[in-house]
Symmetry: C2
Subunit: 399 residues, 2 copies
C-alpha cells in the first residue's frame, strides 16, 4: 500500500435519478430509477472548472484510485495515474470516476432489482448503448453542479465513452483523452465479444439470464474472461511474462492439468473475475461496445464530430495493441482534423498490447499532465491553492 | 463439383498396426493397436520415388482432395492444391494424406474403443505429441513401401508434422514444405488452446471426458471452435468479409439474438464443427500442438536440425497471419541456414490471415509446383508417363 502518493482512503458514492421520469434509451425503451456508482478525488475549485471525468473499460468500476479500507491493499484500477503529482494530479484537479449503467459494480444493471417486480431484471433489463451510459453520466454531472468538464478521459471502452461525450455533449467538455480506443467496434472485436457471450450462454447455470437465486454461470463467465484477457496482452508481452515456462513442474505432465504458466495465469484470473463480475452484465456491456459506431449514428465520422470542433483532443494508441490497432486511432484523428479540431496524436511504442494504457505510466504521466496543463493555461483555469507538505496531515485520507 | 480438375471420387483407407507390440509414445506410455486413416491420389512410379505426404491442420482429416461420393459436393480440404495440374500435381506425384493419432476422423483417438475395456478410451487415452503422430505415420510409410518421401507438406499443425518428419526421420524426406507454421507454440497460441479446452471442460456434458453414451459437450466444443476460428482470420479479411454488416435485419435488435453477420458466421461454423469433431480429440490435438517445441526436445533449433542438412526446404509465411507471425518462420529459416540446409523462404503478402495457406491458391500453385519440379530435376526422379487427355476416360474416378 503506497499511501505517500495516494489519494488515500476513498469511498464509493451513489447518485440515483430518473425516479419519476424514466430515462429514454437509444433502443426506445425507458429505464428508471437509475443509480450510478462514482468516486471523487481532489478538490473542486470555486468556479467548478477543474473537474475531470474518468471513464472505465469493460471490467472496470468507479474505484479508480486510492483504497477502500486499510485492510484492502487493492488500489483503484488507475491508481498509477490518479493522485498527487500523477498524470491526473489530484492536487490540481477534481477527479470523478463514474461507473456505467448495465454494469454490476453499484450502478443499475441486469443484476439490480426491477422495482416493478421486486426481482432482479435479468434479461428484462433493456439493452443499453455507450450513448446511454454517457446520457446517465450527464445526469451525474448536473447533480455535481459541474457545467463543463475540464477533461474527459479513458481507455478502451472508457475511450468510447470519451468520444461519445464529445459528440453528445460537446459544449460540456473542454478536452478529451480517448486512449487505446476506436470510433467503431471492428468485426474482429465483435467476434471476440460474441465468443465470450456464447461461453456464457453455453453454461447451463446461465438459464436465460435468470440465475440470481441459484448457482451462477461462473464457468462460462470465466471462459469469457479468458478469451478477453488474451486480447489485452501482446505476443511480445506474453513471451516476456510467461514464455513456455512450466508451472510448478519440471517436465510435461502428459495430462490435462496445468502444464504452462500462461495456462495457470489465465485459469486463475478467469476464476477470480467471477468473484467480482456478473455474467449478465458481461453480456450487456460487451453488446454496448459492439453497437458502438460513431459514424453509423451520424452518417460519417466527420458528421459525428461536426459540433466537436471546440474540444481539444489527445488521442493515444499503442504500437502492440492488436485489439485496437493504431489505424483505429488514425481514423479518429483524420475525422477530427477534418472538422478542424485541435488534436494531439501519439502512437506510443509499447510491448504491452492493449493493456499498455494501464501500464505505460511514465510516458503517459508526462504526456497527460503536459496536455492538461496546456488546457488549464489556455482557458485560464484557476487551480485550487497548492497543498503544501507542511500543511498536510501525516496520514491524510480526506477526499 | 468441379470434376474436370479433380482427382475425382476417392475413398478413405485404413492401416492398422501395433497389434502385437504397442507403439511407445513420448510420454513413456504405449498405444496399440493403432489405426491410421489415409487417402492417396495419383500414381506411384516404378521406384516409388514420387510420393508426397500431405499433413493436415488441427481440424483437418485424411480427405484432402476429391469427393467421397457424387452426392457429397464437399471436396477435400486442400482440393484447390491437389489434383491434375495443381500445386501437388497428381499427374506427376503420388500424393498421400495421413490423419493423426489422437484425432477422430478414422484414426485411433480418445473416441476409439479401448480393446482392453471394450469402451471408448476417453481421457484414459494417452497424451500424444506431434512426434508421436509422425512416428505412427512412419509405420504407414513402411506399409506403403515408400523408402523416401519426395516431399512432406502441410500448413499450421501440418507444418509442425513436416518439421518433425525432417527431424525424426531426415533420411526419409527429400524436401519439406512447412507452411504458416512454427518450430514452437508461442505462449499466445498456448493461451488460445487453453481457452478452447476450458470451454470444453466447462460444459457439464463433457463429464471428465466420459460422454460417449450420453449427450456430447457440443456447446463447449462450439465455443472452442469459435475462439479458434477468429484466430485463423485477419482483421482485414474480417473487414472485407463481414465489416459491421447486420444479419438479416436493418437495425440493431437491442436483444441478444444475432445482430452482426460475423456473429452468425461464427455461431453457424461453431455448431457445424460439432457434427464432425470430437471434443476429447480437440483436447488431445491442441495439447500436442502446445507441447510442440523442436528446440526443447533437442536443446536448440540448430541441434534439432543437426541431421536435416540434406533436406531441401520451402518455408512459407503470410504477412497477415497473426497466429504464426512471420518471425516464427524467420526463426525456422535461421536455424536451417545455420546447419547449411538448402532453404527457400517466402513471406507472401496476403490479407487472409492464417487461413491464407488454404486460400492463396494461385501464388502457392506457382511456388510449390516450381519447387517440386526443381526437386524432381535435381534428384532425377522418373515421373509416371503423362496421362494424355485422349487416353483419359470421360469421367475418370480412378485413384
Amino acid at each position: 500500500m503506497d499511501l505517500a502518493n495516494s489519494v488515500g482512503l476513498v469511498e464509493r458514492k451513489y447518485f440515483t435519478f430518473a425516479q419519476d421520469v424514466p430515462m429514454r434509451l437509444d433502443s426506445g425503451e425507458t429505464l428508471g430509477p437509475i443509480t450510478l456508482a462514482y468516486e471523487t478525488y481532489g478538490r473542486l475549485n470555486s468556479d467548478r472548472s477543474n473537474a475531470i471525468l474518468i471513464l472505465h473499460a469493460l471490467s472496470g468500476d468507479a474505484h479508480a484510485a486510492g483504497y477502500h479500507s486499510l485492510a484492502n491493499y487493492k488500489a483503484g484500477w488507475w491508481d498509477d495515474c490518479i493522485g498527487p503529482g500523477k498524470a491526473f494530479d489530484t492536487n490540481k484537479y477534481f477527479v470523478v470516476c463514474s461507473n456505467v449503467i448495465g454494469g454490476c459494480q453499484g450502478s443499475t444493471g441486469p443484476s439490480s432489482l426491477n422495482p416493478a417486480t421486486g426481482k432482479p431484471y435479468g434479461l428484462s433489463f433493456p439493452v443499453v448503448t455507450i450513448a446511454d451510459m454517457v446520457r446517465a453520466q450527464r445526469h451525474l454531472m448536473d447533480y455535481l453542479g459541474i457545467e463543463k468538464w475540464l477533461a474527459v478521459a479513458g481507455g478502451s471502452m472508457g475511450g468510447m465513452q470519451v468520444l461519445q461525450w464529445t459528440v453528445s455533449y460537446p459544449e460540456r467538455v473542454r478536452a478529451a483523452l480517448p486512449l487505446a480506443t476506436t470510433a467503431r467496434h471492428s468485426p474482429m472485436l465483435i467476434a471476440f465479444s460474441e465468443v465470450g457471450r456464447q461461453a456464457i450462454y453455453a453454461d447451463p447455470n446461465w438459464n436465460g439470464g435468470d440465475y440470481y437465486d441459484n448457482a451462477r454461470p461462473n464457468a462460462g463467465l470465466a471462459v469469457a474472461r479468458m478469451v478477453g484477457h488474451i486480447t489485452y496482452l501482446s505476443e511480445e508481452s506474453m513471451h516476456h511474462k510467461f514464455g513456455r515456462r512450466l508451472q510448478e513442474r519440471e517436465r510435461f505432465g502428459y495430462d490435462f492439468n496445468t502444464d504452462f504458466a500462461v495456462e495457470g495465469y489465465l485459469r486463475y484470473n478467469g476464476n477470480r473475475f467471477t468473484e467480482r463480475f456478473d455474467a449478465n452484465s458481461y453480456l450487456y456491456v460487451t453488446k454496448a461496445m459492439d453497437y458502438f459506431d460513431l459514424s453509423n449514428d451520424y452518417g460519417s465520422l466527420t458528421d459525428a464530430f461536426a459540433k466537436s470542433a471546440d474540444v481539444t483532443y489527445l488521442v493515444v494508441s499503442f504500437t502492440s495493441d492488436w485489439l485496437y490497432p493504431t489505424y483505429h486511432s488514425k481514423e479518429l484523428v483524420s475525422g477530427l482534423t477534418a472538422i478542424g479540431a485541435d488534436v494531439t496524436y501519439c502512437n506510443l511504442k509499447s510491448s504491452w498490447g492493449h493493456d499498455a494504457f494501464l501500464l505505460e505510466v511514465e510516458t503517459m504521466t508526462g504526456l497527460i499532465s503536459d496536455f492538461l496543463e496546456r488546457i488549464v493555461r489556455e482557458h485560464k483555469i484557476q487551480l485550487p491553492p497548492e497543498v503544501t507538505p507542511a500543511a498536510k496531515p501525516a496520514l491524510d485520507f480526506s477526499i
